[in-house]
């Protein structure tokens, strides 16, 4: 019973938090994104600003993400390394 109450409290808390956000479609502070849109092409030379953000402005995130995929594939390989002898 307590779990149901906590879920409802969490729902109301989240609802109050989200409703006090900026209205959908009108973000308040966009100076970082306007900088990307204005000089994305000049600095990185690519038309797709999202690709320039993913690979050039925030390259370390993509390196972390590619190594996350590498770690997941290695983890799955460790888990399934030998279904027959289980060693």
């Amino acid at each position: 019973m307590i779990k149901k109450i906590t879920i409802i409290i969490l729902f109301i808390f989240l609802l109050a938090a989200v409703l006090s956000l900026h209205p959908f479609g009108r973000p308040i502070f966009t100076k970082m994104d306007d900088y990307f849109i204005q000089n994305g092409q000049k600095e990185t030379g690519s038309n797709n600003i999202v690709s320039s953000v993913v690979f050039d402005y925030r390259g370390l995130d993509t390196l972390g993400e590619a190594s996350i995929l590498f770690a997941a594939a290695t983890g799955v390989f460790i888990i399934f390394r030998s279904r027959k002898k289980y060693v």
């Binding site: 000049k42 030379g45 797709n48 993509t62 590498f70």
Partner: protein, 147 residues
């Protein structure tokens, strides 16, 4: 799987690969890029695993090859980062430099020139290879029935 499914997979596999490579190579012009294109090509391996079953998933050779290509893909990606170490890690030294991908792009709409992204197309290819082999490796490993 039945004969029809096998023939259809062999027919449809080439368009999937070409479309995936298009998405990867035009990552800096059109939506998509390394991750989306790699995932598209990984569906080709899933299709093979579903259609041909044990012939594909049982073979160990395909898994070793995928392991190799995964390590190669991510090694090229991190070495591209090391190339820029003259000024800082991940520095886009190819952009606006006139060399292989160095065409300078001015602000505003343009039809999109293929050799314009600087290091971004190379990174797209490296990440595409890595994502393709990681996802298909996971699919092949998980679909190994206990023989």
């Amino acid at each position: 799987m039945s004969k029809i499914v096998k023939t259809i997979t062999s027919l449809v596999s080439l368009p999937i690969i070409v479309f995936g490579l298009y998405i990867i190579s035009h990552g800096h012009l059109t939506p998509g890029g390394g991750f989306a294109g790699g995932a598209i090509i990984a569906t080709f391996i899933t299709l093979l695993a579903v259609a041909f079953g044990k012939e594909i998933t049982g073979r160990n050779l395909s898994k070793q090859l995928l392991l190799l290509s995964e390590s190669l893909g991510i090694l090229t990606f991190i070495i591209l980062g090391f190339f820029g170490l003259s000024s800082t890690f991940f520095y886009n030294f190819l952009a606006n430099s006139g060399e292989i991908f160095g065409r300078t792009i001015l602000f505003g709409l343009n039809p999109g020139y293929i050799n314009s992204g600087g290091m971004i197309p190379l990174m797209n290819l490296a990440v595409g290879l890595e994502v393709f082999s990681a996802l298909s490796l996971i699919i092949l490993l998980m679909s190994k029935e206990n023989d």
